[in-house]
Symmetry: C2
Amino acid sequence: MSANAPSPDCPLCREAGGILVFQAASWRLIRAEDANFPAFYRLIWQDHVAEFSDLGAGQRQACMEAVCAVEQVLREALRPTKVNVASLGNVVPHLHWHVIARFDWDSHFPNPVWGASLRELPEPAERRLPLSLQALDQRMSQRLQAL
Amino acid sequence: MSANAPSPDCPLCREAGGILVFQAASWRLIRAEDANFPAFYRLIWQDHVAEFSDLGAGQRQACMEAVCAVEQVLREALRPTKVNVASLGNVVPHLHWHVIARFDWDSHFPNPVWGASLRELPEPAERRLPLSLQALDQRMSQRLQAL
């Protein structure tokens, strides 16, 4: 079995891993459904590889240009305080990049989303965004289609 | 003032930000001195830009190929359980990539280094590495020189 054959125990080989926003040949973009961080996307590499450096140079470039496009759409659409990008995979070692719009008002800012919560919001975070998540997904899809 | 002129209030414009391991024209690699995560490097972009997407396409590629090289050295030298890569910058919005070797025995694994600690080690984590941090720094420097 090749190192990147689907792994039966891997949730990202078995399922989309969130709301599927865009499917490319080598990767997909999903939106995580996180009430605290509504503009939270994940670019998931299609093959079951653990590390960024398991990709070839051309794959790495394609991967990060797609991550960058997701970041650009977040910036243009939401004007976030910061964008957080991370490939961790300690629990699910199947390459995926978190791309998260962060706001100075969000529950954890400036802590990472994996850190301690610092405040509670009086309303769902999603309501503070200037457009709906459906509209944001659509912009993502359009932008990624054009890559 | 251009958007990427040094910012007087930015610690990563003023100081190295850790032990300087390698200085390239557009970025530098430092080792963070973190007792829990001794093999913790940061690739810091030289110009004061906040986001990955503030770089041009060629800069992004050079940046991530350097990040990848750091990851490769960590994998070859340490055989970590996982490598974690992240660009957050919520506190210091000057582009830097954390590249961290993680081990199933480390204080936080599988939590992110920014999450909750799960165990205390009976000895300094550095002693569990198969080579000294000085030797690791040297391998990093040699590898990055060859890029």
